[in-house]
């Protein structure tokens, strides 16, 4: 066995590198860990004015609930305030947005990547302009017609707007992924007896999975994290999770409400961790791409 590159570095460098990494990890993870820990305390501890250490030790939590951890924040948010409804709404919105954007994105991206015409370039350029616009500018334009046509407040409306905002980006990303796939691959498939669409489905898409998953994840994040569109376009009962959290924070008069927000934040963040971990390999190969040389 030859020594690995890392082992040949001088000790001091390795120590500096490791300690920097550890420091960075703490800085990056601290806010989340702090919130996670605090979400199992009562408001008086987490937002203690007396001593910030109370958030860690939680004397009030012990005196109020009898144990050092409490699930009351979660119970209040999910059951009392019906956060589960918002979670369901989020799920519907996110699944629809991802599916619709990916369908149009893969078909359109493939067509644009294989198009010999100049207009393909201009289409992509125009879509970039729309991508660069802040989402809120679109919302303000939509708001009035949506009210007049009685479309305001429903989930499908929000889905359509989110897809519209998301589509330029998915189109861009998928087009560049498709461009990395050699044309010879479609052409051999067509010589082997496929129509253009069969070549796309049987040959190109299997090679494209990392790209589709990476793009899907980004559109998922956009829909999942969106505040501007969902907050403006959805009625209270159709709210998704992010505006729901905002509404918890907006009504701090009631004691414990802030803790609902804190526990919801944890509920919103946890699935993201799982998702990224699960698709980690595809995302990495999708982001590094070029792994399709035949």
């Amino acid at each position: 066995m030859t020594t690995r590159v890392a082992d040949r570095r001088p000790l001091t460098l390795r120590v500096v590198m490791s300690s920097f990494l550890v420091l960075w990890l703490i800085v990056a993870a601290f806010p989340f860990l702090w919130t996670l820990w605090g979400s199992f305390k009562v408001e008086g501890d987490f937002f203690s004015k007396a001593d910030w250490l109370n958030a860690l030790t939680g004397p009030l939590t012990v005196s109020e609930t009898g144990s050092s951890f409490t699930g009351s924040g979660y119970y209040g948010a999910w059951v009392q305030e019906e956060f589960w409804r918002a979670a369901m709404n989020s799920l519907i919105v996110v699944v629809c947005v991802v599916c619709i954007s990916l369908t149009f994105g893969t078909l359109g991206g493939y067509a644009l990547s294989r198009s010999p015409y100049r207009y393909a370039f201009w289409l992509l350029l125009v879509s970039l302009v729309f991508r660069a616009m802040p989402p809120i500018t679109l919302v303000s334009g939509y708001l009035l017609p949506f009210f007049e046509w009685n479309l305001w407040g429903h989930l499908p409306t929000a889905i359509i707007v989110l897809v519209a905002i998301n589509q330029p980006f998915t189109l861009w990303m998928l087009t560049s992924f498709f461009r990395n796939i050699p044309k010879d691959l479609d052409e051999s498939a067509m010589m082997d007896g496929c129509s253009r669409f069969q070549a796309f489905r049987h040959v190109i898409i299997p090679v494209m999975w990392p790209g589709v998953i990476t793009t899907g994840l980004f559109s998922f994040l956009l829909a999942y994290n969106d505040f501007a569109v969902t907050a403006m376009l959805l009625s209270k009962e159709n709210q998704t999770m992010i505006p729901k959290i905002a509404s918890f924070l907006g009504t701090t008069q009631t004691k414990g409400n802030v803790m609902f927000a804190v526990s919801s934040v944890i509920s919103v963040t946890a699935p993201l961790f799982l998702l990224v971990m699960f698709f980690q390999r595809q995302i990495v190969s999708g982001l590094t791409a070029g792994a399709v040389k035949g």
Binding site: G193, V207, K293
Partner: protein
């Protein structure tokens, strides 16, 4: 199996002409090689036959049927690509089987046909591997197996050997030749390598700038090039081309004087001869100081300046000479070819 006819086939992109009014008949079972430097339109011609590129003008007939408007899949053609075009997510077995699958050939036949194709190209040990785990030569053979698995009317091969190393190229070349002998399928083969063209072809089509320069058997093309382009492209080294002038049946140029062209019109011409047809002698038609000398192994190649260009002359390997020393060579008029000085076309020889 089928013959192929090209009638006035052209391809233009805007004002750029890729292929210009090409007429060609390829007989059933023939091995035809399209040969030319890159950008000469040979690949474009093949892609038009395949249906991957639309013809701007003209007709393509396969087995007597016009196929211009047909999709590639409906033309019953198999193609081997320069980059192989293997499907990276499928195993070798699945790659070879793919044409059978998409063409809805009965499942029961698949295994036998895949195995037969794999045996033909000696791939049976690698059937479970992914293309990424194969060497270049093996990938090439997978592409070949995928082409032969479903007995198409026509094979198209687009520089299939250019990504292989020299040694492998020779053995794969022999394999392709043998495969064609066995299957007797009409084959069109595109290459820029004249040795491939010479060894494989029944007939060679030499192209330049989208125009067919000459069509003929390898020997015809080697022995009777139709113009200076073909003469300068075929052979290693290519034919020597000397500028000079005919006067009274004698060709004269710098350091060169060849009599014996009785009947040839007076005026400027290009004269061509092959290095191996010249013989080093005490005195001869060419006399000039040696410009360079290369030992080839079985012979030496001496270069001299004559007729405003460098002229190669094949000498025996024990030829003793030094750069700068005078060299004379016999070049009888019978081994020479005359080409028109302006058009480059071959001039008919009334005499000899």
């Amino acid at each position: 199996m089928a013959d192929i006819q090209l009638k006035g086939l052209s391809k233009r992109w805007g004002s750029f002409v890729g292929v210009k009014a090409m007429d060609l008949h390829i007989a059933d079972g023939e091995f035809l090689v399209l040969l030319g430097p890159s950008g000469c339109g040979k690949t474009t011609t093949m892609r038009m036959i395949a249906g991957l590129e639309d013809a701007s003008e003209g007709d393509i007939l396969i087995g007597g049927t016009k196929v211009n408007g047909l999709e590639p899949k409906d033309r019953d053609i198999a193609m081997v690509f320069q980059s192989y075009g293997l499907y990276p997510t499928m195993s070798v077995y699945e790659n070879i089987r793919f044409p059978l699958k998409v063409r809805k050939i009965p499942q029961a036949e698949h295994h036998e046909r895949v195995m037969r194709a794999a045996t033909t190209v000696e791939l049976t040990e690698f059937l479970d591997r992914k293309p990424a785990a194969l060497s270049g030569g093996q990938r090439q053979r997978v592409a070949l197996a995928r082409a032969i698995v479903r007995k198409p009317k026509v094979f198209l091969m687009d520089e299939p050997l250019s990504n292989l190393d020299a040694k492998l190229r020779v053995s794969t070349r022999a394999q392709i030749k043998n495969l064609h002998h066995e299957l007797k399928t009409t084959t069109i083969y595109v290459t820029h390598d004249q040795i491939e063209a010479m060894t494989l072809a029944d007939r060679v089509v030499v192209m330049s700038k989208g125009v067919v320069q000459q069509v003929g058997t390898p020997l015809e093309i080697y022995d009777r090039p139709a113009n200076t382009f073909v003469a300068g492209f075929i052979g290693n080294p290519a034919m020597n081309l000397l500028r000079g002038e005919i006067r009274g049946g004698v060709f004269e140029g710098r350091n060169v004087r060849i009599p014996g062209f009785a009947g040839a019109a007076d005026g400027p011409v290009h004269l061509g001869f092959r290095a191996e047809d010249a013989a080093v002698a005490q005195a001869g038609e060419v006399a000039a100081p040696i410009y360079s000398l290369e030992l080839l192994g079985d012979a030496s190649m001496a270069t001299v300046q004559a007729g405003e260009s460098l002229v190669a002359i094949k000498a025996p390997k024990d030829f003793q000479g030094r750069i700068g020393e005078p060299l004379a060579a016999r070049i009888p008029a019978s081994v020479c070819h005359l080409f028109d000085a302006s058009s480059g076309e071959r001039l008919p020889r009334s005499a000899s």
